[in-house]
């Protein structure tokens, strides 16, 4: 049991998917304008990455490994993730409209998100079994949620204050992200 908790913590904080592995930056910089938007995006990412990691690890263990087609992992995972996201989005839009309005609108954004594929491939390289890869996916997604919500909150604060006019917009976001990334370095001291 103790090993599983370590996996979650390392995935969420130690090597945070956005701030140290640098995956999923496009949506991280783009969508973090308001905190509710960021929360919605984070929620959708947690939902999708967890399912994607589960499906990916099942696929690898029961389809690719036995047929010794390990090299197909990238393409099969990408295919499955894209289809998965589209199906989940349709399912949400039809049957749970309330949840769709909160989370669903971000789902198409996640198909092109590098973090999802990154996590699925990492699970294979680290050789996690089913439970471990689901938890690693969950941890990574929670890390993403934490990072994007914090950035959104900082950005909202930045709207109010006065600063160099040419730094408004993307440059300010990058600086906030840089400072957050430095802060997340602190976690690496946490040797589990």
């Amino acid at each position: 049991m103790q090993g599983l908790i370590i996996i979650i913590i390392t995935a969420a904080l130690l090597d945070n998917v956005v701030l140290s592995q640098f995956l999923g930056i496009c949506s991280f910089l783009g969508v973090s304008t308001k905190t509710e938007v960021a929360l919605g995006m984070g929620g959708a990412v947690v939902f999708v990455i967890t399912i994607a990691s589960a499906v990916a690890s099942l696929l690898y263990d029961f389809v690719l490994a036995p047929l010794s087609l390990g090299y197909l992992d990238t393409i099969v995972f990408i295919l499955v993730i894209a289809a998965l996201v589209q199906v989940v989005e349709m399912f949400f839009k039809k049957s749970i409209p309330s949840l769709y309005n909160a989370l669903g609108i971000y789902l198409p954004l996640i198909t092109t998100n590098c973090a999802v594929l990154g996590v699925a491939l990492n699970n294979v390289t680290y050789g996690y079994n089913f439970i471990e890869s689901v938890l690693c996916g969950l941890g990574t997604a929670v890390g993403y949620l934490v990072a994007i919500v914090m950035l959104a909150a900082i950005r909202e604060r930045c709207e109010g204050c006065e600063y160099l006019e040419s730094f408004k917009g993307v440059p300010m976001v990058c600086i906030c992200a840089a400072l957050m990334s430095i802060a997340f370095f602190g976690f690496s001291g946490l040797n589990i």
Partner: protein, 202 residues
């Protein structure tokens, strides 16, 4: 569900196209892999043989000892090193007695796995290391493959090594590459694994 019938034709149409695209891509991938696999693996094997030979310059010939791989998992488990021995070769000199052991050890780096070749003499002194495969962050992780890091290892006669942030004082300390401590740890783990297994062989 009356509306569904009309769509069946559309669904079949879409699925067929997607199926064709996937078949073509599967074919391409399969062909590419099958053609290139023998070439790449031959090249890798040659590289490995060359590295081993460079380590044991006195060796006359190498013999593969697959049985060591099974026994090594138990040894590594209780030594608490999470690494896997991919293969192990014994180096023999002309008269046939064992000069030392050469291992390819797989450990988890920052981005993906790192395969390190480790040469250990029969009496346990470390002969040297080489990085066979690694996809570490360019600029930082790849420094592990440069001579000034690799030359730290030869000639050490210790049971296990430790990474230290500041300058190494004792014989069993290796200074970590700045900015790539995870990579250094991965390589040091690999070396420790090789040392542990060699000790168990004597």
């Amino acid at each position: 569900m009356q509306g569904v019938e009309i769509d069946v034709k559309r669904i079949l149409h879409d699925t067929l196209i997607l199926f064709v695209i996937c078949i073509v891509s599967g074919l391409l991938l399969g062909l590419a892999y099958e053609i290139t696999y023998p070439i790449t693996s031959a090249r890798k094997a040659a590289e490995k043989a060359a590295t081993y030979a460079s380590m044991f310059d006195g060796a006359d010939h190498f013999e593969d000892h697959a049985e060591v791989i099974e026994s090594s998992t138990a040894v590594l488990a209780d030594a608490g090193i999470n690494a896997t021995i991919r293969d192990c070769m014994f180096a023999y000199d002309a008269s046939g007695n064992v000069l030392g052991y050469a291992y390819s050890v797989v450990t988890a780096g920052k981005q993906a796995e790192i395969v390190t070749a480790v040469g250990v003499q029969a009496d346990g002194t470390l002969l040297g290391i080489d990085i066979l495969e690694s996809s570490e962050t360019s600029g930082l992780g790849t420094k592990a493959d440069e001579p000034e890091f690799k030359d730290l290892f030869p000639g050490r006669k210790v049971s296990s090594l430790k990474t230290v942030k500041k300058a190494a004082s004792a014989d069993n300390e290796i200074t970590a590459i700045s900015g790539a401590t995870v990579t250094t740890n991965a390589v040091v783990n690999a070396v420790n694994a090789a040392l542990a297994v060699s000790a168990s062989l004597n």
